[in-house]
Amino acid sequence: MNLHDLITSRIEYLYQEYERLSSMTSNGGVQEDINRLRSIKDQIDESVENLCYLLPSDFQDIVDVTDPGFLSKFHEVQSVLEGIYEKGLKMKISAGQSRFINRITSALDNRIEKLQSERDYHLNHPDEVKEKLSMMENKIFSYEDLDAKVTDPDDMTLLDIEDFHLLDEAVNDPNVSFQYKASLLKQIIAYNDAILHQHKVVSLADMDQVKSLLSEFQVPDKVQSLLSRNKDEVLSHIHLGKAKSILAYMQSKNILTSFTPDALLTIAVYGDLETLKSRYESFSSVPKTLFSIPSVWINNMSSSSIRKKSSAKQRKSSSNNNSVLFSAAHRVSYDDLVKNEEFLKSLGFDVSIAQGRGLSALQQPHNRVVQNYNLLRDFGFFDGRDQSLFPVSIFTSSHIFEKANRFIELGLLGNDNFNYVYYFPSAFVSFREEAFAKLYALKQENNRFDYYDKISSEHRIGTLKTDVHLANGEFALGDDLANYVKDNFVSITDKIPNASLFDEVLSQRDYGLDTGIEDDENICYLENNFREGDNPYYTIGGVDVSRYKVLSSYGALKSEGYMGEDAFLYSAVSGMYLTEDSFKAMKDDIDRAYSRGGDSNGLSRKI
């Protein structure tokens, strides 16, 4: 096996372990296994004759059922028992056959006891299970990233220290065979050697073999076309034997042409027969929509840690995108799809797997959907609105908290006269980072009237010019974002000691408000001196600052022991693009507010 095979095999093992651990604390799962094994044991205890009616596969939990030695003995025992009980022959079970039966029943008892003990331990330690599951998810993601590196023909970087740390866990796993470990070490050396000699070979199959396999199963022409377009990725990842078994199964169930061409190819490359079978057999009737979502037929976790999905700018610029099918293969797990439907339907949103409605939201990690719902609710998006008409595509957005605060600060949300984002929430998805930078600049350069005059549509009151979203036309930066920011705005990390530390603290938080933060004397000062009415913002140094951001950030920092003036200032300026003048004016006002209380030397100390 080459390095890719070894990594894939490790990933499959980790998925199985993940499923096994998940089942320890869920309904069904390991309890079903315990019940099944106990039923088999009970049948044998009731009468040894019942062994005649069992299959070798019934004992797969306790023995290698492909071992010819086991199979031969099992059938021998069954033949004798059939002779005695069904044909009434005067025969006896031999001592050896009796020992075989005793070994089976003893192994069943041991297995049942072990499963019960594991189940009970995990039920009593749910936090430990949660942490283990999270670690396993991250491990699986790391292995998948490593596999992407190893199979990318354009990636000529050596395996590095991080890769070695990861592979080290497989080498040190006592459950892994010596043979696997030896192969792995050998292939690591061979891989780096190939890179050093500029001779990386990634293809597992050749094009003719794959074309021939697809033709054998008479797949639609579109599949062949997709193969040609994604040749590098397919040839470096497909296992012909596995793909053949997958296609054969689909054909046997008459579902091969039910799948969309892209789903069919993705499953053939990244799927496995067991997962496909298990999924198909779980339905009495398969909703048509699912035939277009390949990831529900492939091993995927219901993820507590969101798989990092890159925007294209973060990808290596390469004319070959070697992870297109991979992305489709891991878009959403079946569990998350179902949980999303249940969650969103219960809240009145118009989604349906069976009818293919709201697929944008349904195909997101469940944790993201829940978090985004909570945030949007807290920012008032569902007040006075028919939920069934809300564009559920907003649940696909990342950084809702940060963006909502920016929209408030830019006068586009929570503003009675220009509540643009409330009515056009897809701004969460469409606004480019360049657009935020440009609007912060315009807002600080102009008075309110001129600012809205510049950004408002000439055709419709209360709407933006469409060029704003994409920073086009008059809203173009005229430079790349990094240079524009450098030339026009201060660097918060340069201005505030501990800014990076505060970033790190806030990246771990929940977004709710800490109890009691509104009673904090510094916050009270802001409320009384920098807020008009019930505006969702303070005006500090002439700059509008989202109130929710300040309360949430300062509350989170304070609860971690950071309550100096720098933490207070950071809570106000974080996430903003600020000119030198604006930053200075804000700092002056924060100084004034903070001098009413707090640590007098201004710097936060963690208590």
């Binding site: 878009r331 709201g358 008409l389 929430p425 897809s426």
Partner: protein, 97 residues
Amino acid sequence: MDYLEKYNLSKDDILDIKESLNDDILSIFLLEDDKVISILDYFYSLGVVNIKEFILMKSTLFYENLDYIRERIEKSTIPKFELLIKENPGYLDFVGL
């Protein structure tokens, strides 16, 4: 994604789109081109001409099926809705798209 050229997009436009889409939506554009074309043809027939802006502002639309999209638009009671979409694709938010 060369098929986008039929909507008067240049190679630079297509590259800009490619670089702006997240992995999921990019994989839809690269693997489900028939679906993407059917959706774009539909909006083109409604009068949307700035296809690049349309894709970038409403990229999440491409997770959906055309039938669902059509149903949402055709059930709308907003007057001159097609004109509104042409002016600002964000108006699709009003019909839950």
